[in-house]
């Protein structure tokens, strides 16, 4: 086994024949690091090779048969990626924060004794050492850290870089089958379930009234529901509201919920964790009500207030009902 070379490996995901947004962001981040290190940028694509032709920006692309067609298995992902790391020995591996990244990064870091940073929002190279900036405590603090001069892994928060706009060009592509792996798995490829269709369409709404854990209890939802009703718009929510069973899943905004871009996103009692921001930061105007002046939501909001939502919402209802 040779030591780590100066390459950067990026884990790419494709859906419906195109690379995901976060994949393009990883290529952009990875390219900068690869340039600083003077090594190649290698893409490992979970998806068919026709997508790879658009993965220019990488010098080499390794393709795996789409998990979307075989079904997803965390163990299959780890086994496949381990083989590529073993073969290519990159200096840095970049994966997106999300199920794939969470399944891969810790396991690979143990297997290869790599230094791992998660929640990464920025990367740099300083005298041959890789440095990462990570977002901790739900986005309340940032940590700059040194990942050393050996093999490092960064699990990157979606939205941390501007997606690289890819052209078409020559890229060396090799295809790999997962057949040999599939037979021996303890965790078989899963059966995919699309989200349930429902009456509420928070994606189409021009205005969303969104509620978070700050609402405190199910019974209190009525207060905000009254405002949503008065405005004639659907209520959306952060994950804890859904997990508590206070609102059904189709109302969830964020990483594992829906991505929304209304004209106005009006939030009450939502802290603005990275997984929530991922789903709503592209809204045209964000108005946030949160009693904590340090809540990360204020970093993306256009208008903010630290009033108690229970004092503010009734006043809004009164105005709207006029």
């Amino acid at each position: 086994m040779s030591g780590p070379n100066n390459g950067v490996m990026v884990v790419l995901e494709a859906t419906a024949g195109r690379l995901s947004d976060v994949s393009l962001e990883l290529i952009s981040l990875g390219k900068d690091v690869a340039n600083s290190l003077g090594g190649p940028l290698v893409g490992v694509l979970i998806g068919a090779s026709d997508v790879a032709l658009t993965a220019v920006g990488c010098d080499i692309v390794d393709c795996y048969v789409d998990f979307g067609t075989i079904g997803y298995s965390s163990e299959m992902a780890v086994t496949a990626l381990s083989a590529r790391v073993e073969a290519i020995r990159p200096r840095l591996l970049l994966a997106p924060t999300g199920t794939l990244g969470l399944d891969l990064c810790s396991a690979l870091s143990v297997a290869f004794d790599a230094t791992l940073a998660s929640y990464v929002v920025g990367l740099s190279v300083d005298a041959g050492r890789i440095q990462a900036t990570s977002q901790l405590y739900g986005g309340k603090l940032l940590a700059d850290c040194d990942l050393g001069d050996g093999f490092a892994i960064a699990c990157v928060v979606p939205g941390s870089a501007v997606a690289l706009q890819l052209g078409v060009g020559d890229v060396e592509v090799s295809n790999h089958s997962l057949d040999a792996i599939v037979g021996s798995l303890a965790i078989e490829p899963g059966i995919r379930h699309e989200p349930e269709a429902s009456g509420v369409d928070i994606v189409a709404a021009e205005l969303l009234v969104s509620v978070g854990r700050g609402i405190g209890a199910s019974a209190n939802l009525e207060v905000v529901q009254e405002l949503a009703d008065a405005l004639g718009v659907p209520m959306s929510a952060s994950r804890p509201v859904i997990d508590q069973g206070w609102l059904p899943k189709p109302h969830q905004v964020g990483k594992s919920g829906k991505k929304v871009k209304p004209k106005v996103y009006l939030s009450f009692g939502i802290s603005g964790a990275p997984e929530h921001l991922e789903g709503m930061r592209q809204s045209e105007v964000i108005i946030a009500c949160n009693t904590d002046p340090n809540a990360p939501i204020f970093k993306v909001a256009h208008y903010g207030t630290t009033l108690d939502l229970f004092d503010l919402v009734p006043e809004l209802v009164e105005l709207v009902e006029g």
Binding site: Y72, S74, E75, V78, T99, D103, C105, S106, A107, S109, V110, A111, D113, A117, S118, Q131, L136, Y137, K140, L141, L142, A143, D144, C145, D146, L147, G150, I187, E188, G190, E194, P195, L207, L231, V233, D243, G245, K249, S256, K258, P262, K263, V264, L266, S271, V285, D292, N294, P296, K299, V300, Y303, G304, T305, D311, L312, E315, L316, L319, V320
Partner: protein
Amino acid sequence: MNIIVAMRQLADLVEELEVDSSGTDIDREFVKFVSNEWDEAALEEALCLKEAYGGTVTVVGIEEVDFHQTLHAALAKGADRAVELTGDFEGWIPTRQRAAALAWFIRECDFDLVLTGVQAADDLNGQLAGAIGAMLGVAHASVVTNISVEGSEAHITQELGGGVTSVSRARLPLVLGVQSARQAPRYVPISRIRQVMAEATIEKVPVTGESFGNTPQVLRLYAPEASGTATMLEGKPKEVASAIYDVLVAKGVAGSRKGN
């Protein structure tokens, strides 16, 4: 069905978090610690599994500020055994170190499932489930929202993002990072916790400090700079409401277009 749940305490994110004089860790002195919310989900799923299939639930974690509260609450909710790993643990503990100590303990146990929270908000050094799985040589999966068991097999549901889920058939044993349980974590009255505190014992198991591999070195911990884009609306609720309403009207989503 023997289930081990790895739990911990974590700074309450609703609190103001200050950076200490070293500049690389939070000031742990005055901050309030609470159970990691995702560990609570892992415990809930474990208790539901025990109720459905029998067996035992062991809760284990590293000696840290207020960790006994987590253990006592877990026992009060129905866990059978509470274990605290003692040793040289101070300040911020990298996931690799945490995982190594937990794996060292778990390896000697008879287990079908190891459950832990999908993440903790200070997981700078990765998430626990994958690290424990790799150390034990046991298959692992994260962002799990449902588990059912049939004999030596489980069906696990993972969220893949955007509302898409994937259900896999898997052979036990497994290490799973739990995102949410099938139901919200159960409530346990404080009187019951007090009773447990008086009666139950927490097993203390000393772990000997061994190397746990490479971890990132924190150079600087700091609050992000305000992006400066948010206009803070000051005043009484009536005034702020009126300012917000003006924005809604200006964007054409309220007022003249009421009813949308």
